[in-house]
Symmetry: D2
Amino acid sequence: MTVSQDVKHNLLTRLRRIEGQTRGIQRMIELGTSCVDILNQIAGVQGALEQVSLQLMERHLASCVSDAVCEGQGEEKIREIMQVLKYYTRT
Amino acid sequence: MTVSQDVKHNLLTRLRRIEGQTRGIQRMIELGTSCVDILNQIAGVQGALEQVSLQLMERHLASCVSDAVCEGQGEEKIREIMQVLKYYTRT
Amino acid sequence: MTVSQDVKHNLLTRLRRIEGQTRGIQRMIELGTSCVDILNQIAGVQGALEQVSLQLMERHLASCVSDAVCEGQGEEKIREIMQVLKYYTRT
Amino acid sequence: MTVSQDVKHNLLTRLRRIEGQTRGIQRMIELGTSCVDILNQIAGVQGALEQVSLQLMERHLASCVSDAVCEGQGEEKIREIMQVLKYYTRT
């Protein structure tokens, strides 16, 4: 699936912010900021990336997987998304 | 969705094992086993529970969600499963 | 490390509840409860197990690791707990 | 705690790579890459960030927390790192 224009715009805005936060963490390390503050900042980036993933996953289920399901070819698409989910859970 | 007989049997077998492992952890604590060993055992139970979740999620996508999608009512089911996924990722 | 009496009691209470919840999930599967409800119940058990892990980890850091650190032998204990943490994060 | 020069260098190298990967994901979205590929790429960034977190956590335990423990002031530092860990596990 490819994402629609407005979802695209929203995702790109989030990812640019994440990119900026990643640069911010580099500065924190250069400046000798405390580990705990850096760890909390990294946790924030992780949370933001997960929001991006969840948005992509929802779009993927609602378009590509749904289309495949209705054409009787959902099985492979579901297996594919389960592979992704296996990573996103901890197993 | 309700699960089919063989999936049901497989899940129940896994869950009985998980129940047994949970009792095993209680014994470890009673006997004063080292924390690291207990933590590793708990990690094993977490992994086993995640396998159960993933199996259930796959079945749910392949039956209930797929059925709803083909009847043009996938949107609500997808929103519902995304709520579950939000918990299973860390956000 | 082994855990103190009151921590032990608290952990055992939590684990007995987790054991009961695990049996509850088995019943849900036998009765054909909806997947989403079962997934939410499993998520609850996962959360409860994580509380147990975090309590154990805190006790472990505050006793066994701290003792080793003060005796100049913290390095090995820290490596050991990092191995556990590697599992508990997703990597 | 602040991190030593070589740990600093190593962390900065990893974070610059993560920053580059984040830009790569933006390009994937602009180019209309498939969701599954993007999700896998995000998962890779998540894994890389976790490596950074774990390295920072290990340094933090081995220096700042250890120092505090030996000065009889470990309790607060342990509580602080547990707060961070609570985020990094799922609870």
